[in-house]
């Protein structure tokens, strides 16, 4: 008899308490709407809640073997064969009760390393490969990043399970396989080849120092080279895989040996079609293996109902391996498998399904009209889909997965928006997607509403009701603002108003271009939206604005790591304007070195590791015969510059301006001295808490910085509708939103800016000295980009909104506002209407994004103390919803500290 799982895991120090949630203590206020999934989905979700994040080498073994065996072949084809082998050898797992099947690996929540991208970061800390990664600055973020200590994270090794980087578990026997695989890519991975060439950039030494100082969070070209984009399911949904293979065969016949006027890449079309054909065959076989497995299980299944379900699965998988889906369930199964295929070809976070309520509408409508399906059945399927999507894991370094993503994979589903002809696009299926988000509360897919004044009130109130259940989704995005940004940014590539309306959110809040495609089902035609652009949030990852300002004050020298990071300016600033000028000058130096070096990394990626799966999905690759690297996608100006800590920078600049240059209360030297000495406080990591209020004085402090610290804290702050402070933000935004035009991506397109923190405000805060706003060394920055620093917004939400909208958000890919509301503030139907009023008013004012955490802070504090009682507690962080226990301590502290709008 097998022992009880819980007992065994508890002996190994891994509590997986099944009675999650528990009874909330009396004085804490619960969220209003409670979940209640179907029995089937609830069971599958329960399995997820007990599942460890698991790694297997099956896919990478076959990829590696076949890639190596085809040495000498054309790169596209070589990669096509390797991917095909990976898919064809994945062992399928089907779990009892599943309606939708398939996964990235044989595990329920599995992932695998891709050493061909980067091979050093997942090795043991003492391994020379890891040490090498550290030396080049590509693993700097790992040292200040943290995973959550609970949930499915394998934080420590136990029994035959080895923990990798405190998150992933791998079977002990496979550790050597992992090492062996990694060593085969030394000097050949995108990381290594890119590194070889990036060093030829004259400004490389600055870039390396910038990475080590954590002015920038991480490299782009080999970490998460795809994602933060919207997938496109049109081609398989319309033509089926047989149809796509036929297209490739026709493409080969038409283009083999014929450049057709393009002397540079015209001949590449042959290789592209051949490579895609290979991948398509691999994907077909992978589907058929699930059909086989279902039949195998059916053969021995005694329970008649379960047996029938296995047989249905077999029939569905066999059909969609070849042809256009015939009904809603098949269509949902197909887009789910397409999604898995996509996220298995590369290290990807934020591959967003997009507006699937509109994509799947044709099947939903025809099934409902024909009486083939009921809404209850659709809801059950959507719940199963939520569990499946939540099982997606992404294998990347600790700095990336822990420090930036908090373990989230950002599969964003968008609702609402407008149709091609400008009508409200919300539909009944989207109402059910919201319902499933409430009945089956999970992290994926996260939901976003593309808010438009034209959307029906019933739909918006349903979205509010979902929000109130405390899941943190949907987030609210400004549809008109998004359209304006898309028109401006992609106009030069031919974007028109109709297609701008097809935009959607990739990743947490990256506005991404889309197009409409006309889908035909049983003779009826529908326009469906889908992604049409390259990955976004590629290029320059997260510049720490307060850290750049710190460099201005320290003459370019980083005291944390004792390194001259930026060239010394050797200036004495006579005016605030001179200081601000230097800040921008440093900023430009930072962007410039990151642009050129990351361009090289991405160039190596497109030559050695180009997308094939997403390249056959995204328009217009199949038509043009070109993959992403040859600009087969419709829109290519997607590279951006991200920043973090804007609000701490704004408040700091204001204080410098006011206290040093206007009031002359302190000299710049006095202020800098106070910052270097952390105002007499200990560093945050000594305390083990990363919020300001928990910090402690140094034992030897004599109080000499008390006055200056108090002046820094008591001054005016962003978020209170104070023109003097907000003016600094407006001035910065005016410069920042235009700064991308000066730089060119590898696709010879200008950059634009992206403003959201994800989780970087914790690790990058950890690497930054005290700042002139009174923030202490090592503590977390303000979250998002438009949220006030915790506790400093003292004049209510309207004043905060007024501050936030002092600039034109449509000049940026996004902006981000997180608001924490006490459940009492939104009680009842009147509360729902008022929450909608609040949201609507911010959108009308031009805010791009707002999301709410509707939770009693007392609950969060209790969850920090008793994590075992809160296995399925969800919170909204910054652009994503995550299980509380899977979030690192610094971000937990920050969420607790956020100003809570009570309305008692």
């Amino acid at each position: 008899m097998a022992r009880k799982l819980v007992d065994v895991l508890e002996e190994q120090g891994m509590s997986l308490n099944l009675q999650a949630g528990g009874e909330a203590p009396k004085e804490m206020v619960d969220r209003e709407v409670k979940e209640g999934a179907t029995e089937r989905a609830a069971k599958l979700k329960d399995i997820y809640l007990q599942t460890l994040s698991s790694v297997t080498c099956e896919f990478p073994y076959w990829y590696n073997r076949v890639f190596q065996a085809n040495e000498g072949d054309i790169m596209e084809v070589r990669r096509g064969r390797a991917l095909k082998a990976g898919f064809e050898h994945l062992t399928p797992s089907i779990y009892p009760g599943e309606l939708l099947v398939g996964a990235k690996t044989q595990y329920y929540r599995g992932s695998f390393p891709m050493p061909w991208l980067s091979e050093g970061f997942f090795m043991a800390k003492e391994d020379e490969l890891y040490q090498a990664a550290l030396a080049s600055g590509s693993a700097s973020a790992d040292q200040v990043s943290a995973y959550g200590a609970g949930g499915g994270n394998v934080t420590e090794s136990f029994g035959n399970v080895v923990s990798i980087a405190g998150k992933y578990g791998i079977r002990k026997d496979e550790v050597r396989v992992l090492t062996k695989l990694a060593r085969e890519w030394v000097g050949k991975s995108v990381d290594d080849v890119g590194h070889r060439y990036e060093q030829m950039v004259p400004e490389y030494p600055i870039k390396e120092a910038v990475m080590r100082s954590l002015i920038c969070m991480f490299d782009s070209g080999y970490t998460l080279p795809q994602g933060r984009e919207v997938i496109n399911y049109f081609y398989p949904l319309q033509y089926g895989y047989d149809g796509l293979i036929k297209m490739c065969e026709e493409g080969i016949a038409e283009t083999a040996g014929r450049p057709d006027g393009d002397g540079i890449i015209g001949m590449s079309r042959l290789y592209f079609y051949e490579a895609v054909k290979l991948v398509l065959e691999g994907i077909q076989t992978w589907h058929l293996h699930y059909a086989d497995e279902a039949k195998r299980l059916a053969a021995t299944e005694k329970n008649a109902k379960q047996k029938k379900e296995y047989e249905e699965i077999a029939e569905i998988m066999e059909h969609i391996a070849h042809k256009q889906p015939r009904n809603f369930r098949e269509a949902l199964q197909m887009i789910y498998m397409v999604h898995m295929a996509s996220v298995n070809e590369d290290a990807i976070s934020g591959m967003s399904p997009g507006r699937i309520g509109q994509v799947l509408w044709p099947w939903f409508e025809q099934d409902m009209e024909a009486g083939r399906i009921t809404e209850a059945e659709v809801l059950e399927l959507l719940e199963c889909y939520r569990v499946k999507m939540t099982c997606i894991d992404c294998f990347a370094s600790m700095g990336v997965v822990g420090g930036v993503l908090s373990g989230n994979t950002f599969n964003n589903v968008c609702l609402g928006g407008l149709t091609r002809d400008g009508q409200p696009a919300a539909n009944r299926l989207e109402m059910l997607l919201l319902e499933a988000g409430m009945t089956c509360q999970t992290t994926q897919p996260t939901l976003s509403v593309l808010y438009d004044d034209k959307l029906p009130e019933e739909f918006l109130l349903k979205a509010v009701e979902c929000e109130k259940s405390g899941t943190g989704y949907p987030a609210w995005m400004n549809n008109r603002g998004g359209i304006e940004f898309i028109m401006k940014n992609y106009g030069p590539e031919g974007m028109n108003l109709e297609d701008a309306r097809a935009f959607s959110i990739g990743g947490c809040l990256e506005t991404s271009p889309g197009i409409w495609k006309e889908l035909e089902l049983n003779g009826k035609k529908y326009w469906i939206p889908g992604g049409a652009g390259q990955p976004t949030s590629v290029g320059v990852h997260f510049i720490s604005n307060p850290k750049v300002l710190e460099m201005v004050l320290t003459n370019g020298y980083d005291r944390r790591i004792d390194l001259q990071v930026l060239p010394p300016h050797n200036k004495t600033f006579k005016t605030y304007e001179e200081l601000y000028e230097q800040f921008l000058e440093y900023y430009d130096i930072v962007i410039d070195c990151l642009v050129t070096t990351n361009n090289i990394q991405h160039d190596v990626w497109r030559k050695h590791n180009m997308s094939l799966v997403n390249s056959f999905l995204k328009p217009d690759c199949l038509a043009k015969g070109q993959h992403i690297g040859n600009m087969g996608y419709r829109y290519n100006a997607t590279y951006n510059i991200e920043d973090t800590g804007t609000i701490n920078m704004v408040n700091s600049l204001y204080n410098i301006k006011k206290l040093v240059f206007e009031d002359k209360k302190y000299t710049l030297e006095e202020l800098t001295d106070a910052l270097i000495n952390n105002f007499g406080f200990k560093n945050a990591d000594e305390i083990g808490s990363f919020s300001l209020e928990a910090q402690e004085k140094r034992d030897d402090d004599d109080g000499r910085y008390d006055q200056i610290h108090a002046d820094c804290l008591r001054s005016f702050k962003y978020g209170n509708d104070i023109p003097e402070v907000d003016g600094i933000l407006a001035e910065f935004e005016d410069w920042y939103c235009g700064c991308g035009d000066k730089y060119e991506s590898l696709y010879a397109k200008p950059f634009y800016v992206c403003q959201m923190s994800v989780s970087t405000h914790a690790p990058q805060g950890a690497a930054t000295l005290a700042s002139a706003d009174g923030r202490l060394s090592g503590t977390t920055f303000a979250d998002a980009s438009m949220s006030a620093y915790p506790g400093t917004d003292r004049n209510g939400a309207y004043a905060l909104f007024e501050s936030a909208t002092c600039w034109d958000h449509s000049r940026s890919q996004n902006s981000q506002m997180n608001l924490k509301l006490h459940p009492n503030a939104v009680k009842g139907i009147e509360g729902s209407k008022k929450l909608l009023d609040l949201t609507r008013s911010y959108m009308r004012k031009g805010g791009f994004h707002i999301q709410f955490n509707i939770v009693d802070s007392k609950v969060l504090k209790d969850a920090q103390k008793h994590p075992n009682n809160y296995r399925d507690l969800l919170v909204r962080v910054a652009g994503f919803t995550q299980y509380w226990v899977e979030i690192g301590k610094p971000i937990q502290d920050e969420v607790v500290a956020r100003t809570e709008y009570e309305g008692v």
Partner: protein, 87 residues
């Protein structure tokens, strides 16, 4: 050779690195490393294949089943390997 565990059994569907579902025992959830039962039926893995040779102490050996020989590891599932031949 190491003792068989549940992950070596055809009746077992893995959930994660520690546990999975046993179809021979009413689909109950069991730990990979707990005792196997009399229903144990080996699943195709490299270690059960004729092509798997020269295995070292870490169970890493050579696969000579394909045109180009390469290393492989005993625990690799071979259910869908076109060259798998049971020992």
């Amino acid at each position: 050779m190491a003792k068989n565990n549940h992950a070596d059994c055809r009746n077992f569907t893995p959930i994660d690195v520690a546990k999975g579902i046993c179809h021979a025992n009413n689909d109950s959830i069991i730990l990979i490393d707990s005792e196997t039962c009399p229903m144990f039926t080996p699943i195709a893995k490299c270690k059960c294949c004729k092509c798997f040779i020269e295995a070292d102490e870490n169970n890493i050996g050579i696969c000579d089943g394909f045109k180009k020989k390469d290393w492989t590891y005993g625990d690799l599932k071979a259910v869908y390997c076109e060259q798998f031949t049971s020992k």
